[in-house]
């Protein structure tokens, strides 16, 4: 784990590590506010939009079907007064579609961010100091010296090595 105070140095380090063969998935940057990387440095592909749309369609569809079925199967004997309403059902479709997208976005956020996934408590999490970006690299034993070299030459401060079982 290494602390950086300047984004340009951090980006250089990441690029160098990638060139040395470390996978982007093994690298994590910890900071108190989001760091805006340029494209191609530490991209994390996201499926959130797709999930949101899918959630919207599912929830909207289910709710519409439910409301439709309830109205059509309602055993109220009316003297011709319609029980089903196209436009009314339409409003409910719209709202539940929106609700579905909200819930899907939130749920997927919890999953994608890793907040709700099972955590591996052996992997150390750095305490982030204000103004500092901490880069954590996971690698196996033989690569450690090379990684250390890259980090130091990129201008990292406070590099720490932690053993994980």
């Amino acid at each position: 784990m290494a602390d950086f105070r300047e984004q340009s140095k951090l980006e250089a380090a990441i690029l160098a590590l990638k060139a040395a063969g470390i996978d982007a998935d093994d690298m994590d940057v910890f900071s108190e506010e989001p760091v805006e990387f340029r494209r191609g440095i530490l991209d994390r592909p996201s499926r959130m939009s797709l999930v949101a749309v899918l959630g919207a369609i599912t929830t909207g569809g289910l709710a519409t079907a439910g409301v439709f079925a309830a109205q059509h199967n309602y055993r109220l004997i009316t003297g011709g007064m319609p029980v089903f309403s196209f436009w009314g059902t339409g409003v409910i479709t719209y709202e539940t579609t929106m609700l579905g997208s909200v819930l899907a976005t939130f749920g997927w956020f919890l999953w994608e961010s890793g907040l709700l996934r099972k955590r591996d408590h052996n992997i150390p999490v750095p305490t982030v100091l204000p103004g500092v970006m901490c880069l954590r690299v996971r690698c196996s034993d033989p690569h450690v010296t090379r990684v250390r070299q890259i980090l130091d030459s990129a201008g990292a401060t406070d590099t720490v090595r932690k053993e994980v079982a």
Partner: protein, 438 residues
């Protein structure tokens, strides 16, 4: 114009924004106690209403809807503050929104919670409100999905869910930072609520994506919610309610009152929490310009609506129109026009007069004016029904005043509690990126 962020030292920002969270001044405790006592008064009033019947209010035939529906529309309207500021400004990447978003989102959530109480409070048999919820039951009964009140239910539930999530998401990183708080129960609270946020770039990335999506969605929801609320009136055939303009009219009015509420809250927070460096003249200037814009839009819609009615000269509509312009409701009507249009136009339109104080004054006027606008939509139409033999006048009682006052106090209580538990400015959004320090 840049915000003052780069000029402030990093540590100072952190300290300033987290300081209100520990301890409370005497002023704070006095305010919260006073507000709570009014809330209790409102609860007492409501329990009297539930025990004795709706007759303890001023409602009658033909004015079957009164203060409660006015309050309902008013509070749901104000809830559009957060949506506009947070969502639209987030989507347009306006940097000046940063210190303002959380305050706005909090307003939204609390206003929705309060506004959502009124469909229950106004019921003749409040304890049976759950019959409007479609749930399977042994009597095989379902609610009527043709009724605009059902659409209200779905829309407001959706909006509440959306805004709570929209408020919660950006709170997570701040709560993670507060995990080191000195008070133990608070530490536990923040740790649990922040879900183990570590600040990794994966988490940040997911958060930013989620916020962008939520901004679009919440915008779509907000427009639809107040349109659906307006359809409670527009879908009926009562004179001067059955108007197609109500949908957009209500949305515009909601955004208008929402910005006024936000201005008021921001001005109060600025003084109470000492946030002069963060909520600057620049922010108030921009919000004031927005308020002025909405005032003009509101005037346009109102003018169009009344002009159409007047020119059509339809007898049952003209009865309502006359009662508003010249009749018993005239004082309220002209006060509303003065508060909603004249005051903002003068105070905010003339650059020299546009200060933080005048913005606050204009906001208070707008809030009064918008409440009156809702009142003028409900009472005159109901008081002048098509059958003139059934005309009536609405005189509210102390019960309705107490419950209305209790909702305003309730808002204050909720907001005070919120400001003590969570930083009112989104710290992670506001703090400058470390690289700017060089």
């Amino acid at each position: 114009m840049a915000t003052s962020a780069p000029e402030l030292p990093y540590a100072k920002i952190r300290e300033d924004l987290f300081r209100p969270l520990s301890g409370g001044s005497a002023r704070y405790w006095i305010t919260i106690c006073a507000a709570l006592s009014i809330v209790i008064l409102g609860l007492v009033a409501w329990s009297i209403q539930v025990r004795d019947g709706m007759g303890v209010t001023g409602l009658n035939r033909p004015v079957f809807w009164g203060f409660y529906i006015v309050d309902f529309v008013f509070w749901i309207g104000i809830s559009h503050a957060g949506t506009l500021i947070s969502a639209i400004l987030r989507l347009t990447d306006a940097a000046w929104r940063k210190p303002v978003t959380r305050a706005a989102e909090a307003i939204t959530v609390f206003c929705l919670m309060i506004g959502g109480m009124f469909p229950i409070i106004h019921l003749g048999r409040s304890w049976l409100f759950y019959w409007l919820i479609p749930y399977p039951n042994p009597r095989l009964l379902w609610p009527n999905f043709r009724s605009p009140l059902l659409w209200d239910l779905v829309a407001i539930l959706t909006y509440v869910t959306g805004s709570v999530i929209y408020l919660y998401l950006p709170l997570i990183p701040d709560m993670a930072q507060l995990g080191e708080h000195n008070v133990p129960w608070r530490r536990r609270l923040y740790r649990i609520l922040s879900l183990g946020w570590t600040g990794s770039d994966r988490e940040w990335h997911a958060l930013e994506r989620a916020m962008k999506l939520m901004a679009c969605i919440i915008l779509a929801i907000a427009v639809s919610v107040h349109t659906v609320v307006s359809w409670d009136f527009a879908m009926s055939i009562a004179p001067m309610w059955h108007s197609t303009i109500f949908g957009p009219y209500f949305v515009v009015g909601a955004i208008f009152s929402g910005i006024a509420a936000l201005l008021l809250v921001m001005g109060t927070l600025r003084r109470a929490l000492g946030l002069e460096l963060y909520l600057t003249k620049h922010h108030f200037n921009n919000l004031s310009k927005l308020l002025l814009l909405m005032s003009l839009l509101w005037f346009y819609f109102t003018f169009a609506e009344y002009q159409t009615v007047w020119y059509g000269n339809e007898p049952s509509e003209m009865a309502v129109f006359a009662s508003k312009i010249r009749g018993p409701y005239a004082p309220f009507f002209w006060t509303m026009v003065f508060c909603n249009f004249v005051v903002p136009f003068i105070l905010l339109g003339i650059k020299k007069l546009r200060t933080i104080t005048t913005a606050m004054i204009a906001s208070v006027c707008v809030l009064i004016g918008m409440w009156l606008e809702r009142y003028l939509i409900v009472a005159p139409t109901l008081g002048n029904p098509r059958m003139t033999s059934a005309a009536g006048v609405y005189v509210p009682t102390w019960i309705e005043f107490a419950i209305t006052a209790a909702t305003f106090s309730g808002m204050i209580v909720l907001y005070l509690l919120f400001s003590k538990l969570f930083p009112i400015i989104a710290v992670w959004e506001f703090k400058p990126h470390p690289v700017e320090e060089e």
